[in-house]
């Protein structure tokens, strides 16, 4: 059974000043037995603090909060990017993230090669990639451009490619940072249909957004983050109580 479980998870970012990132200053402080000035110290920014979440199949969680409240950090933590500095994170089920689909696109490689590379990076085996490639090619609508290096693509075309690859995989948990709008008008409708289809089939959806309308439309739970703290546990969303 698919689930996501965060238990009092905190994420602290150590911020090193340019000088304390060097070995010399650390050695110097070790040799002298104390900190020299403020340079050897570093501050810790609390991005998330004691967040507890318990999501099961069928849950659609909307994350709201001001800029820098920790929504994206929470999504990245759920994606497995940041191991919690405190607390535990457990999950079952495959996870797909639409947080930043362009990350890791190889600019010098062709579209086809990017399908293979991205596929492997996403953890799919070569055979499955080969089988789904025609579907990805067709959906992206990039045609002969797929044999060209990605660096020749427009941003919209790159997005199309990345979106087509990431969304071609079946997944249990989907993470999204705002609703994606991809490409031109025609492709946008196509992408919208696919996104809707994925969102309705997926076990758990976590969607961070500033748009209340969107969250009301797609989610059945909502949690607000303020300065990295969940101001309330996820609350069930009924029409109009946001």
């Amino acid at each position: 059974m698919t689930f996501l479980k965060l238990d009092n998870v905190s994420i602290d970012f150590p911020i090193y000043g340019a000088r304390s990132k060097s070995l010399k200053t650390t050695l110097a402080s070790a040799a002298t037995g104390g900190r020299i000035g403020v340079n050897t110290e570093y501050t810790i920014v609390e991005a998330l603090r004691d967040v507890t979440l318990d999501l099961r199949a069928g849950d659609r969680l909307g994350l709201v909060g001001h800029n820098g409240a920790g929504k994206s950090t929470l999504l990245q933590t759920l994606a497995g990017v940041y191991p919690p500095t405190r607390g535990t994170y457990r999950r079952r089920g495959t996870i797909a993230s639409l947080i930043n689909p362009l990350l890791g696109i190889e600019l010098d490689a062709s579209g086809y090669e990017n399908i293979l590379i991205r596929g492997l990076v996403l953890g799919i085996d070569r055979r499955t990639i080969r089988q789904t490639t025609p579907a990805i090619v067709e959906f992206s609508g990039l045609g002969e451009y797929l044999s060209m290096p990605v660096r020749t693509y427009s941003t919209g075309m790159m997005m199309r490619l990345a979106f087509s690859i990431v969304t071609s995989i079946r997944t249990d948990i989907l993470l999204m940072d705002e609703w994606l709008s991809v490409g031109d008008e025609k492709f946008q409708q196509q992408a919208e249909t696919r996104l809707q289809e994925i969102v309705s089939n997926v076990g758990i959806l976590v969607l961070a957004s500033h748009s209340r309308g969107l969250i009301e439309r797609e989610c059945n739970l909502v949690m607000e983050l303020t300065h990295g703290v969940a101001s309330s546990p996820p609350t069930r969303l009924f029409k109009g109580n946001l």
Partner: protein, 279 residues
């Protein structure tokens, strides 16, 4: 806008689950067994380099060949060693030294250059270490071709003894892997380690019998050969020259391997989870 929540300086710690020995092993193995991923990533890095230039990585092979042609006659005269004895020694010296030093220099960037991947999801950290090693191996396969004409010219013939090269290379790979984990983690945290490593490698090149013969060292100076790189170089070079690897070399490398692997294992266990916070 938000106000920053800043704590007073304190030790940056990870939750304990992330740094247990068992999870480190699982993580390492998960990355290691996904050969298709790291090999493909390494392969494309080479292929893409080829694509925009006529010769690509072969440029390095070519310049290495030019270096051989120029240095061979000069140094054999300087050292007063017959060219057919000196040439194979020099060729393998340069080829394997290049492999060792570029692997070690590259290790510093292992995790830094993996940033775009590490920031999008959960990846075993060892994947990127293997990718680095795999790319260097592909490069080595380019360069080692240079040895063939040299060996034929010098009259070195095939003998089963040369097969010792295989376990030699394996031991080198284990060490390079461990060193890459160690340096990769250290460089992610302390960005100037890369500079230190680069200049140390340059110094070590002269301390290692890449160009000269270990036999020509006066007795007192033989301690120079206790430099690990000299031994790592020897275990690959000597078999291909048709010689015997000294038992002392095997013992030395056995000890060295235990040391590098132990350091790498400790760092991988304790600091693996920190890497992403440093990028």
């Amino acid at each position: 806008m938000s106000e920053l929540k800043i704590q007073p300086p304190a030790r940056f710690r990870m939750s304990d689950t992330a740094s247990s020995m068992e999870s480190a092993w699982d993580d390492w193995w998960a990355g290691t067994r996904n050969v298709d991923l790291w090999w493909t990533l390494a392969w494309y890095e080479i292929v893409l380099r080829y694509r925009r230039s006529l010769l690509g990585p072969l440029w390095i092979t070519l310049s290495m060949g030019a270096m051989l042609l120029g240095m061979g006659p000069l140094y054999s005269a300087l050292f007063n060693i017959p060219l057919n004895k000196f040439y194979p020694h020099l060729a393998l010296g340069i080829i394997f030294w290049n492999f060792l030093s570029s692997s070690i220099n590259d290790s510093c960037q292992v995790f830094i250059s993996a940033g775009p991947f590490l920031k999008q999801g959960e990846f075993p950290r060892s994947t990127f270490v293997w990718k680095c090693i795999a790319r260097q191996l592909i490069q080595l396969a380019h360069h080692v071709v240079l040895y063939v004409p040299v060996a034929i010219w010098a009259g070195i013939t095939w003998s089963p003894r040369m097969l010792v090269f295989v376990p030699g290379l394996l031991i080198v790979l284990v060490n390079l892997h461990a060193i890459a984990i160690t340096l990769g983690i250290m460089c992610a945290r302390f960005r100037d380690v890369g500079q230190i490593v680069a200049s140390t490698m340059q110094l070590l090149m002269f301390m290692t019998p890449v160009f000269w013969f270990p036999e020509s060292l006066p007795g007192r100076a033989r301690f120079v050969l206790y430099n690990p790189l000299a031994q790592l170089l020897d275990v690959m070079r000597v078999p291909l020259l048709g010689g015997f690897v000294a038992p002392g070399t095997w013992w030395f490398l056995g000890g060295l391997t235990c040391l590098t692997v132990a350091v790498a294992a400790i760092l991988y266990t304790k600091k693996r989870a920190h890497i992403i916070y440093w990028l």
